[in-house]
Amino acid sequence: MLVDYPMRLFKFYRDGFRGMTVGKTLWKIIIIKLIIMFAVLKFFFFPNYLNTNFSTDQQRADHVIEQLTRSTGNNY
């Protein structure tokens, strides 16, 4: 009984996906959207600035602190 369970679960999803009507179109849209978002937008246009330009948390912290304190001497 317990051995059957993964197979039943697999069949549940397999039959569900096979029986889809409008769902097939929706899945195509979801996949295209995710490819555009992760393989194009994220990869080419949205690098994580701090992770890309600095290798340690200390360097990232130093950069942000520099941004937040850089011209205090001029104003205060």
Partner: protein, 512 residues
């Protein structure tokens, strides 16, 4: 900080990109939150009565729910991309606070949705009626729990509690998770946002059902759907009005400038009236002595009651909050800026002492920093007037939202009354109005976001970090390019959703 060092054009393009993404994302979210519960109600009726008409009806609305979910899913992830690229200072500083709520969202709510989502769509003939119903309820609860964690994170930005700022790492560190979760602002945000989303979901159903009644198609299904959606919508509308009042009360305590802006209150007063209907004087500037309104109809003492629950309580106006009011114990922004600049200077001194290895100087700078750290954000302002958000945008957004919200209560009542009288089909004017209602509800929901977010400008984190300090020092061209890329992508996705949705509506319940 001299503004010459910050590219304000970049800041504004990054803002515009964020606005575009959030407002697009927010088309789908309220429909998901509201329609998920309506599907659960419809299916509960099916399980209770055993009537196949309810089953057919449930499957139809579930299909539309699925379309909306599929098109909307992951559009919120784009916001996270933007955090890392355009808002890296902010991301770094809040990482510790946002990590916990967003991780819980991912693990708990998302997996709850994902697990039961499959049963909801694939399990009609493969699971028992009761387990299927349980799954539908779990999807509804899971979707709304997702919203809880996002809104807790947003609530923290509006009222940062349960944390301490570590000047050595430049991070806000979580001190008390429960204080963050149960912050009055987070609770007000969650209850108001979800209940208003239920209203949007209800009008989604009423709008399409009204269309069917106008066309004389699927009449029985449309009437049943309208009754359930009207009851849910009416209860949600009343609750939205209550939670809206609670939000205003929270604003009065934690974000008084936002309240003053959306009420158009320039001069604070005791027993302050609330403007029920008014047109702002567009020539009005802070401190120029001109009347703030070209025309107004006010309710005596209404604002004092709403803001402080007292008839004669003092409600500070924009002028009091900018220039201070000694009699009412309100510090001027100029004074806060002095303290803020001292905090920024000590923040720098801590780093300098750390680099030179002077532990004594570092400890002294840290002690001085702690005295003024609550004013840190004010140290980055150039003028006291910078803390005033765009008054007209916030004022009109708020008032249109309130008028629409009040109108919705009446509309739900009319739908219920004529449904009870069984004359709904004859009321063409009401059905036409109901058909438009979804677009009005979505407008009100988007305006609510404008009030909450534009109303708290210039702050990314209230009093601690202005938006201009939250950005990454990258070129404006990059942000402009991605703005237009998103514009095209979102436009294409929206056209796809509308086309698929319209096709499915045209087919009706027979096609599911």
């Amino acid at each position: 900080m001299k503004m010459g060092e910050i590219d304000l054009t970049m800041v504004n393009w990054a803002r515009a990109q964020f606005i575009l993404t959030v407002m697009y994302h927010w088309i789908f979210v309220p429909i998901t939150l509201g329609l998920s519960f309506l599907c659960a109600f419809f299916e509960s009726m099916y399980v209770r009565t055993g009537d196949d008409e309810w089953k057919k009806l449930t499957k139809f609305w579930m299909t539309l729910f699925g379309i909306n979910f599929a098109i909307g899913v992951a559009t919120g992830i784009i916001l996270e991309f933007q955090f890392g690229t355009n808002w890296s200072n902010y991301s770094w500083m809040v990482g510790d606070i946002f990590g916990a709520p967003l991780a819980i969202e991912g693990i708990f709510a998302f997996f709850l949705e994902a697990t039961f989502f499959a049963v909801m769509f694939f399990g009609w003939e493969r699971t028992s009626k009761r387990f299927h119903l349980f799954s539908t309820w779990m999807v509804a609860i899971g979707s709304n729990l997702s919203a809880l964690w996002i809104l807790v994170a947003n609530g923290w930005m509006q009222y940062p509690v349960g944390m301490a700022f570590n000047p050595e790492s430049a991070r806000f560190e979580m001190q008390n998770f429960w204080e963050v979760l149960f912050s009055p602002v987070a609770i007000a945000k969650f209850t108001h946002t979800t209940s208003s989303s239920f209203v949007v979901g209800s009008f989604f159903v009423i709008s399409i059902s009204s269309y069917y009644l106008l066309k004389g198609r699927h009449v029985n299904m449309a009437k049943r759907s309208i009754i359930v959606a009207s009851v849910f919508g009416l209860i949600s509308s009343l609750f939205t009005a209550f939670t809206g009042d609670e939000s205003a009360f929270a604003n009065a305590h934690y974000q008084p400038m936002k309240l003053a802006a959306y009420e158009g209150l320039y001069e604070g007063e005791r027993g302050a009236d609330i403007v029920a209907l008014g047109i702002l004087n567009s020539g009005k500037r802070l401190g120029d002595g001109q009347e703030p309104f070209a025309f107004e109809v006010s309710i005596p003492k209404g604002l004092s009651i709403m803001a402080k629950r007292e008839l004669n309580a003092f409600v500070p106006g924009i002028k009091d909050l900018v220039y201070g009011n000694e009699a009412e114990g309100i510090m001027s922004v100029a004074e806060k800026m002095e303290k803020g600049k001292a905090a920024v200077a000590d923040f720098a001194a801590i780093q300098e002492a750390g680099k030179s290895g002077d532990e004594q100087a570092k400890a002294a700078a840290l002690e001085r920093f702690k005295v003024n750290q609550d004013y840190l954000g004010f140290g980055y302002l150039d003028t006291p007037e910078e803390i005033v958000p765009p008054v007209a945008t916030v004022y009109y957004s708020f008032h249109i939202m309130v008028y629409l919200g009040s109108f919705f209560i009446l509309l739900f009542m009319l739908y219920l009354y004529f449904s009870y009288k069984d004359t709904l089909e004859d009321k063409i004017w009401l059905l036409a109005l109901g058909f438009c209602s979804f677009f009005l509800a979505l407008t009100a929901s988007e305006l609510g976001w404008v009030v909450a977010e534009v109303g708290r400008q210039p702050w990314a984190i209230q009093d601690l970090m202005p938006v201009k300090m939250a950005t990454t020092n990258i070129g404006v061209g990059h942000v402009q390019t991605t703005f237009f890329m998103f514009f095209v992508l979102f436009g294409a996705l929206l056209i796809a959703e509308i086309k698929i949705m319209l096709k499915q509506i045209k087919i009706g319940p027979e096609g599911v």
